[in-house]
């Protein structure tokens, strides 16, 4: 059974003005895909192709114009927003800016627990400490502030915040873009390990085709709000059909091949 199934999801960004007609500024075309637990889905595309918007629609930050999202066969809509908050968690694009500088990391991690669960203070603390250890930090990091951590550690905190409610799906918006090479492979390893251990579904947006090819099972390629091509990673990278995909894969291959000669 599919963990997530998306059917004809559309979204329109409009500017409302009092006198003239509604102006459509962005159109996210019908998107449909599905994937199973333990699989990784990558979304690739240009800047401004609506990748982040699609991620936000999945998490429920934006409401779609039409279309349905099913999770384990149950439709997600406004009536069961609580379930969605527990099961689909997001890692935001800029880890540095998405952590509140005025709160300790413990407080940041406690917030989703306080809002979504009925745990008491003691249980919350023990869960926070457990999650911190899970992502490879120490329990003392609970008392730290954002500025005391390095980039890689911040990335781990963002991951911990997504993991703490024990979700089924994690949606990550460019999780590896701001990281340095050696720290990046740590983060990639950590994510793959957690995915193996917990059976997470993982949706991520990335520009780095090397990583996409390495960790994802399925790829969606987007351009100007439309899905151009989607399917198995292996198939798309080896036999791209669309012109744009070809260009994308070729330019990546050109980079890889030239330095092998």
């Amino acid at each position: 059974m599919d963990l997530i199934e998306v059917e004809d999801l559309t979204f329109q960004n409009t500017i409302k003005s009092m006198w003239s007609k509604k102006k459509i500024t962005f159109d996210l075309g019908p998107v449909s895909f599905n994937f199973k637990a333990g699989e990784t889905l990558a979304i690739v595309g240009n800047n401004g192709s609506g990748k982040s918007l699609l991620a936000k629609l999945l998490v429920g930050l934006e409401t779609p114009k039409s279309g349905k999202i099913f999770m384990n066969g149950v439709e997600l809509n406004k009536s069961n927003i609580n379930v969605r908050c527990l099961d689909i968690r997001m890692i935001f694009q800029n880890t540095n800016e998405s952590l509140n500088p005025g709160l300790t990391l413990g407080t940041i991690l406690e917030e989703p627990l306080r809002l979504n669960t009925k745990l008491n203070a003691q249980e919350r603390i023990s869960l926070i400490e457990h999650t911190l250890r899970q992502v490879g930090l120490m329990t003392e990091h609970r008392f730290f502030y954002r500025h005391m951590l390095s980039d890689g550690q911040r990335q781990r905190i963002a991951l911990a915040r997504a993991l703490i409610l024990n979700p089924k799906v994690i949606v990550a918006d460019e999780p590896f873009a701001a990281l340095d090479p050696s720290v990046r492979s740590q983060a990639v390893n950590l994510l793959m390990k957690l995915q193996r251990d917990l059976g997470l579904g993982f949706i991520f947006i990335s520009q780095n085709l090397g990583i996409v090819r390495h960790i994802s099972d399925k790829v969606i390629i987007m351009k100007d709000g439309k899905v151009i091509e989607s399917g198995k990673t292996d198939v798309i990278f080896n036999w791209p059909k669309d012109e744009y995909t070809k260009k994308l894969v070729d330019s990546h291959q050109a980079l890889v091949n030239r330095q092998n000669n």
């Binding site: 401004g48 990639v188 390893n189 793959m192 260009k247 330019s251």
Partner: protein
Amino acid sequence: MVLLDIKNLTLEIDISGGWVKALDKINMVIHEGQIHALVGESGSGKSLIVKAIVGALPVRWRITADRMTWKGQNLLTMSVKARRKIIRKDISVIFQNPINSLDPLLTLGQQLKEMLPTDKLTKTWFWQRNAEKQGLAIKLLHKVGIKNHQICLNSYPHQISNDVVQKFMIAMALASEPKLIIADDPTRGMEVIAKTQILKLLSRVNQVRNMSILFVSHDLLAISNMASYMTVLYCGQTVESGELQQLRKRAFHPYTQALLDSAPSFRKDLPPKSPLTSLDGTIPTLYHLPIGCRLGPRCPRARRECVAIPQIRRVHTHFYSCHFPLHWKAK
């Protein structure tokens, strides 16, 4: 011909009472027509080197070097005016983060025209000069592949998409027809197609006009594509430098090897979803620098001797500084 020659460049920064060596004995030689890559993670002092070359560092920081010359002229002892003249004429920098390094209050056209050197202009009357400047600016934009020049020249930096601004920065750098272009992370956060365009553009500039490029980045894929010579930095120390082909084939320093391994596209035999090799830990901050070899605490091959700073050793054109290099037995 040697353009830029740096030997034992050391930069000390005063942080809360103590002087810390942010750069520790950097060596670098750039020849004419060469593309030289400078690789390092953030916080390793890449941008500090760039700023030290163009002299954009605060006066209170201590810069010392055995040698820092531009075509034989010593950059450190010359007057500020003379140095600025050299940098205006021969060196131009494409700074990191183009949108932040442009003036938000001026249109791109105004900024580009300001960059044009006055001795290139032939006309004397001001209306002729303006027309000539406009013509030159449009030509430059076409050179870097911006087609709708009128929109570009008339808009402000925030109105234009990121990769076009990056190309525009390259156009600005080309305006004075320099001998050396320093590109500080020009492909950061770009999608693949725009990235290949910019790389092609830079290598074309290198081939057609014989300009040298100092390519500063941590994107190994981009670097191995165009550069011929590579210097690897870690925490302000030069770890290894040599011909790119040689480095890729046989890296002596564990850090270089870790960097090469961290890019999954480098290895074709890697099965999907297998764990990547990586070093534990992160780069230390300036407040907590380890003594001796700064990679020490993270290095898988570290031993007791590593608390002493390793000497630079040499195999042909390949320099490295490590007590226990990889491929040790193979030699």
